[in-house]
């Protein structure tokens, strides 16, 4: 039987919030990740979306064992790594790497780009000086930079180029799994597309698996094979990307999709969520989305729904998943493309 590349089973992680000066009693507990199960296959991209405080970054760190779970099991290639110590994790670290949101904050400004990309090779004691240099130049070309960039420092690069350096660093040790935490959200629109394309090319060329965390649904839909939607520490819906967008079966997913503002200026139907995200310190009883949910019933206020299978790996944690009204498919495309679309086509043709 083949194994999942990465498997999280009922993983929970909580944090003690310090009591502060004014309160005498012990601090509250935030359950950042609450009984989450998910899998990632070889060569697959799993998108993880959710708003701030939903626990997506904590989940990323758990997946890489940069944090230890309080409960649950983490398996990598079928091996249980939940209780592995730092030193026994070390050989595995070569196979799992991370790309961060802000490339300028994750690159040491005093090091040259060559040194930055070589560093992971030194840490993992790979090759000798000459072979490492050769690898650095190979990596630079892989991410669309040139050999002469190796002697420059990060501040001499634009945001997009810095993200390329971050990607080269992650690729240096030949990983199988890359956890990407908002890799394009700090970049300009025209640069985002370049980096997304680069990541897709690298995936095809090197057989990488991505756990791709982002709040931008349009980007996630474009890059991910499957998508998991998180809300206050819990997975609310998970499924194949197309299915999730065509037929979302959780009101929160519908809210997120309705919040995407597209340049055609037409907003999707489905009622936007009312109110703010509750504090993770005070997760509502029952279904945690019920105070903002237009479909909430008494059942939702009492009982926390579990994920239920809807077919083809599509799961939703909503009591009313099956009976939610169907949403009309996005309005039929105009017969005639707009003049702008025709010109865009021309521009696209010019690039290829």
């Amino acid at each position: 039987m083949s194994h999942h590349l990465l498997e999280l089973e009922n993983v929970t992680r909580q944090f003690q919030v310090s009591a502060g000066l004014s309160r005498g009693r012990g601090g509250a507990v935030v359950r950042a990740v609450d009984n989450v199960s998910l899998t990632l296959e070889k060569g697959e991209t799993l998108g993880l979306v959710g708003e701030s405080g939903c626990g997506k970054s904590t989940l990323a760190r758990l997946a890489l064992k940069l944090l230890d779970p309080d409960a649950g099991t983490i398996r990598y290639n079928g091996q249980d790594i939940t209780d592995r110590s730092r030193s026994t994790m070390r050989p595995l670290r070569r196979r799992m790497q991370m790309i961060f949101q802000d490339p300028s904050a994750s690159l040491n400004p005093r090091m040259t780009v060559g040194e930055l990309i070589e560093e992971p090779l030194i840490v993992h004691e790979i090759g000798n000086r000459a072979s490492r240099r050769a690898r650095v130049s190979e990596l630079l070309s892989l991410v669309g930079l040139s050999d002469y960039h190796a002697s420059r420092q990060p501040h001499q690069f634009s945001g997009g180029q810095r993200q390329r350096i971050g990607i080269a660093r992650a690729l240096a040790v030949n990983p199988e799994l890359i956890v990407c935490d908002e890799p394009v959200s700090a970049l300009d629109v025209s640069i985002q597309a370049q980096i997304v394309n680069l990541m897709q090319d690298l995936q095809t060329g090197l057989g990488l698996s991505y756990l791709f965390i982002a709040h931008d649904l349009a980007v996630v839909k474009h890059i991910a094979d499957r998508i998991a939607v998180m809300y206050l520490g819990k997975i609310m819906e998970i499924g194949p990307a197309d299915r999730l967008f065509e037929n979302p079966r959780h009101p929160y997913t519908r809210t997120l999709i309705a919040s995407v503002l597209s340049p055609d200026g037409k907003r999707r139907q489905a009622a936007p969520a009312t109110g703010d995200l509750p504090s993770p310190l005070a997760v509502p009883e029952g279904c945690r989305f019920h105070p903002r949910c237009p479909h909430a019933t008494d059942l939702c206020r009492r009982l926390d729904p579990a994920l239920q299978e809807l077919g083809e790996g599509h799961q939703s944690a909503c009591h009313h998943a099956a009976s939610l009204p169907t949403i009309a498919p996005p309005e039929a495309k105009r017969q005639q493309p707009t003049p702008a679309e025709r010109r865009m086509g021309l521009a696209i043709q010019a690039r290829s």
Partner: protein
């Protein structure tokens, strides 16, 4: 349509904002024109380095000391603000033009309650009001930006509020003197997507109630499409295309606008690969000699590298700065 006799609320003409002098002079804003009508929203789209934030600071009279308005006019209801002494500008800022920013937390003082900070804004332009009256006005402002139980929240400190609530407070503060023009510089960029929609709705509703005009600065074309009546697209310190939202989103002429529109992934279609604009925005001290977009443009011809195109009309108020528009074929 507006009456041709009444001048637009804001008219920026040929504005240049420079830093440094002589050979080291760089122009963050280089010859920009902009018209904002009463009660309308003008969206300004651009990437980092396009000069969009500097333009808004210039309108507010807040160009940093290292820079200056080198030329041009900024007319507010016929009066030129560009050369106005500091004290006179002070009276206009806040009262006639107000501004909100991306990160409300950095604009709010963490040590004072929001009520006190609102009071400060109210008192700055009305020295005679009593403490009681000011507090009531602060509560009323919070109510207007739809903050639930404003009588209680007025005594909150900023850290007790969510990001969306803090942005509502900033909006309340900006509205405190009933400005004719609100400049919003990426006001929803730091917010979660579901909250972003709420803030955009709020701004629209407040605009309907007060009739104020807005300049809405953002890098996000989706946000512009949701709020703007008119749109200007900026690139490297210049406006490359301007027109109604419909002009820009359905009949874009400039290759840069087309590139921006095309490179966003969309929910309503599946693309195998995202179209990109190659390269990056040039820094202001190293601009190409001709059209600033020429090095990245798929339609560029040798002419484009020789001279910088000016804005040309494409019907109505739709203008684009491109020699090749309307593009029909790719340059070889």
């Amino acid at each position: 349509m507006t009456d041709p006799k009444t001048p637009p609320l804001l008219q920026v003409e040929d504005l240049r904002v420079s830093f440094g002098a002589g050979a080291h002079e760089t122009r963050a804003v280089d010859g920009i024109g902009l018209t904002v009508e009463r009660g309308r929203t003008h969206g300004i789209v651009g990437e980092s380095g396009s000069g969009k934030s500097m333009l808004s600071l210039a309108i507010m009279g807040l160009v940093p000391d290292s820079g200056r308005i080198a030329s041009g006019r900024i007319r507010l209801g016929g009066r030129d603000l560009a050369g106005l002494p500091y004290r006179e500008m002070q009276a206009i800022r806040g009262k006639r033009i107000a501004m909100i920013f991306q990160e409300p937390m950095t604009s709010l003082n963490p040590l004072y309650t929001i009520g006190r900070q609102l009071s400060e804004a109210i008192r700055a332009h009305d020295r005679r009001a009593s403490a009681r009256e000011i507090r009531n006005r602060a509560i009323e402002l919070l109510r207007r930006v739809r903050i639930p139980s404003p009588e209680r929240r007025v005594d909150d400190y900023p850290h007790q509020m969510s990001g969306g609530m803090r942005q509502r407070v900033m909006i309340a503060m900006a509205l405190s003197c009933g400005p004719e023009l609100l400049i919003a510089d990426e006001p929803t960029t730091a917010l979660d997507v579901t909250v972003q929609v709420q803030i955009l709705d709020l701004l629209r509703e407040l605009q309907d109630e007060t009739g104020m005009a807005m300049i809405f600065i953002t890098h996000d074309l989706g946000v512009v499409a949701a709020v703007a009546d008119e749109v200007s697209v900026m690139y490297a310190g210049r406006v490359v295309e301007t027109g109604t939202a419909r002009n820009i989103f359905e009949d874009a002429q400039h290759p840069y606008t087309l590139g921006l529109l095309g490179s966003r992934p969309r929910l309503d279609r599946n693309l195998h690969r995202l179209p990109t604009i190659e390269g990056a925005v040039p820094p202001p001290f190293d601009l190409p000699p001709g059209c600033r977009f020429e090095p990245r443009c798929a339609f560029a011809t040798p002419d484009c590298a020789a001279a910088c195109p000016g804005l040309r009309p494409f019907g109505g108020n739709h203008l684009a700065a491109c020699f090749r528009a309307p593009v029909k074929e790719i340059a070889r």
